[in-house]
Subunit: 391 residues, 2 copies
C-alpha cells in the first residue's frame, strides 16, 4: 500500500453553530484545501452519525461535495457511531493507499444541538444493542457509570481521579481556541467545596456532570494525499502511518470481563504494528474521554501504562502537558466537545498540529509521533491512528 500524508487540516469552533450541517462539514474542508494549497480533490468522505435522524438530511456527502464545488468527485458518508471520524480517515487511507485517488478530503461534522440534550442522549443510545440494551433504556452515561464502578472496585480509582481528568482536560481547552468549553474548573470547585454537589451533580452515579463531555456542534477535516501529491505541498510531512481497528461484542454484558476494553487494545496494537513503532515511542496522544474514566482506561489498553495503573500515572502528572505522555492537551472530548462525526478527525487535527509544532501554548516539545483513539459504541468498534512526522 502507498504511503499516505496529511497535506492540510481544518476545524470549526466547537459549541453551538448556527449554520447548516453540510456547511459545518464544508467549512473545515475549505480550510484544509487552503492549508494544503491543493483543490483538485478526487474523493470526499464525510463522517457523520446523526444527519438522518437529528438533522433530517441524508445523502450528506453529495451536499458537501456540491457545497465545495468539487463535483464530479466521489463522495460517501461513513458512520461508525462516535468512531465515525477515525473510520472515515481509515477509508481515506485505503483510497489513497490503493492508488485509486491522490487527493482525498476526509471531513466530519455533527449538528447535535438542533435537538435538546435528552434527545441527543437518546439518539446516541441507539448505538447500543437494539434488543438487549436500548429497549431497556440503557444510555451511554449509564454504561460508563457501570464501567466506572467496576474500575473503582478493581483498581482503586476514585472520584478524585475522575475529577483530575476533568480539571486537566477542561483547563487545557482554554489553550485551544476551537474548544467548546472555556471555563476554568478546580478540584475544589467540582468536588471538595460545599457547592460541589450543586455545581457538579451526579449524572449517573459515580459519574458527575463534569465527568461527561458536552453535546456539541462542530466539524473537522484532514486532506490525505499520496507521496507524489505531497511533494507539491509546502507543509511538514506528517504521515498517517498506522490504522488499527477492532470490534468487540455489541452488548457489553456479553464480555467475559467488562473492565477489559479488548477492542482498544487490539486496535492500538494493529495501529502500532502498521506504523512500525510502539506506545513508548508516542510523544502526544488524544484519547476518547467522552467520560473521564475512559481516558484512564484507554491509556492502559493502548499500552501507555499497565492495566490498573492509568490513574497512578495521572496522579503523578505524567499525562499532563510537560509529563512523560501528554494526553488530550487539546482539551479532549471533555473540553473541546464531542460532535460525534467530527471527533475522530478533531483528534487527528490536534495531533497533526502538534507534529507540525504549531500548537502554541499547548505544544508538546519536539512531538514527532502522535496517537489517537476513537472509541465507538461502548467499546464495540474502536479505531486507533498513529501519525509520524517524517520531515
Amino acid at each position: 500500500m502507498r504511503s499516505v500524508y496529511v497535506a492540510g487540516i481544518g476545524i470549526t469552533t466547537f459549541g453551538r453553530l448556527e449554520y447548516p450541517l453540510a456547511e459545518i462539514a464544508a467549512y473545515p474542508a475549505m480550510m484544509a484545501m487552503k492549508d494544503a494549497g491543493l483543490t483538485d480533490v478526487e474523493q470526499v468522505y464525510v463522517a457523520n452519525m446523526g444527519g438522518g435522524r437529528i438533522n433530517h438530511q441524508t445523502g450528506l456527502a453529495s451536499a458537501v461535495v456540491d457545497t465545495l464545488s468539487l463535483t464530479p468527485a466521489g463522495a460517501e458518508v461513513i458512520e461508525n457511531g462516535p468512531a465515525s471520524g477515525a473510520s472515515a480517515l481509515k477509508q481515506g487511507v485505503l483510497a489513497v493507499g490503493s492508488g485509486m485517488y491522490d487527493v482525498v478530503l476526509v471531513t466530519g461534522a455533527e449538528r447535535m444541538r438542533e435537538v435538546n440534550n435528552l434527545d441527543a442522549t437518546d439518539f446516541i443510545a441507539t448505538l447500543t444493542h437494539p434488543l438487549s440494551e436500548y429497549v431497556y433504556g440503557v444510555t451511554l452515561p449509564a454504561h460508563a457509570a457501570m464501567f466506572t464502578r467496576l474500575y473503582m472496585a478493581k483498581y482503586g480509582v476514585t472520584e478524585r481521579h475522575l475529577a483530575m481528568v476533568a480539571v486537566k482536560n477542561q483547563n487545557q481547552a482554554m489553550a485551544n481556541e476551537f474548544a467548546h468549553l472555556q471555563q476554568n474548573i478546580t478540584i475544589e470547585g467540582i468536588l471538595d467545596s460545599p457547592e460541589a454537589m450543586t455545581n457538579n451533580p451526579y449524572v449517573a452515579e459515580p459519574l458527575r456532570f463534569f465527568d461527561c463531555c458536552p453535546v456539541s456542534d462542530g466539524g473537522a477535516c484532514l486532506m490525505l494525499v499520496s507521496e507524489d501529491a505531497m511533494a507539491g505541498v509546502d507543509r511538514p510531512w506528517v504521515r498517517l502511518a498506522g490504522v488499527g481497528q477492532a470490534t468487540d461484542s455489541h452488548a457489553v454484558a456479553e464480555r467475559a470481563d467488562p473492565t477489559e476494553l479488548t477492542a482498544v487494545r487490539l486496535a492500538a496494537e494493529r495501529s502500532f504494528a502498521m506504523a512500525g513503532c510502539g506506545p513508548a515511542d508516542v510523544d502526544v496522544a488524544e484519547l476518547h474521554d467522552a467520560f473521564t474514566i475512559l481516558e484512564i482506561a484507554e491509556s492502559e489498553e493502548a499500552g501507555f501504562f499497565g492495566k490498573g495503573e492509568g490513574h497512578l500515572a495521572l496522579e503523578q502528572g505524567e499525562t499532563a502537558l510537560g509529563g512523560s505522555l501528554p494526553i488530550n492537551v487539546s482539551g479532549g472530548l471533555k473540553g473541546r466537545g464531542h460532535p460525534v462525526g467530527a471527533t475522530g478527525i478533531a483528534q487527528a487535527h490536534e495531533i497533526v498540529t502538534q507534529l507540525r509544532h504549531e500548537a502554541g501554548a499547548r505544544q508538546v516539545d519536539d512531538a514527532a509521533i502522535g496517537f489517537t483513539c476513537n472509541f465507538g459504541g461502548f467499546g464495540n468498534n474502536v479505531v486507533c491512528l498513529t501519525f509520524v512526522r517524517e520531515r
Copy 2:
C-alpha cells in the same frame, strides 16, 4: 491496485421482512460466506440509509459484525442515499485492492416497511437539497415526474414506453424467487383498459403507480477477496473490474440541462475505463429503475444507446431477455424491490449470478461482462460497476 474478485454472494427475499435490521444485513452475509466457503473475514461494510431515522439504530456495522461472530473484524456503515450499496462495494474494492485486507464482506440492508409508505417517501426526500428542495416539499416521485415531462417533450417518450418498462421488469421479477413483486401485468391492464386509471392511478403525473418501484425490506451481500484468497474458492472467477463514480449538482434545478444525467455518463465512462472495456462489450446490465423513465435515460447515458434513443431500443425489444442488451432481467428495482441500502448490492448479486450462468429461467446466454448503475439522489451521486468473468 490489486485485482478484486467476488468469492460469494447472498440475498434475502425482498418485500416485508419480519426480522431485525441487523439480521437483514447478516443473513445474506452468512449466505455469501457459505457460498465462498470462507469465513475468515477481516472487514465488513454495511450499506444502509435509514437505520438512524427509520429503525432507531446507529452503529449498525458493529451490530452486524457481532451478529456474524466476526469480531474483532473492522466494520463501518456506508451511506450514499440509494447508491449506498455500490458505494459500499467501492469501499470493498479499495479495502482489498489496497492490500490491507484479503477477505471483505459488503452487505446492504434496509428495513423500510417499519414505517408507512408516506413516511418512507418523506425519509427518502431528505436526500434532496435541504434548503432549495426538501423544505419546499419536493419528493423523489415529483423529481422523476418533472424529469419525465422534459424527456417526453424533448425525445418523444410516451406513457406507453414507460408502461413497457414496467411490464418488462415486473414480469421478469416472476422469474426471480427473491423479487418483491410477483404479479403479472400487461399494457392492456395498466394503460389501455377502462380499469387502468383505477388500477394504475397517477402518483405524480405523468408517472403512474406502476412506474414507481415498491417500498421494500431486503438485504444483499457480496464477499470480495484478493486473487490469493480466490485461489482457494471453488466458484467461477468473477472480477469486480471497474468502479466509476461521479457527483452532480445537489439541486436538480442548478443543472444546465436537467435531462442530462451527467453523473451517470461520467460514472459509466470511469467504470469502463478502469475495466478496460466499453458499453458494446456488456452482455447484461442492471440499471436503477426506481422510476421507469430512469431505465430509459440511464441506458442512454451509460452509452448503450444514443441520447434520446433508449425508448426506441425498448420498443424493438433490445433490452428484453433475448435482446441485444437485456436490462433488469432480475426484475430491477421495479420488480425486485428497492430496499435502498441493499439495492446496489442486489444489482451486483444479479450480475454475478448471470456471469456464473446460474440465473435459470432468466439467464442471459453466454454472459461474460456485466454492468450495474446505482443512482443516488436524483442523479447527484452515481456509482457504476463493471464485472468480468475471467474463468
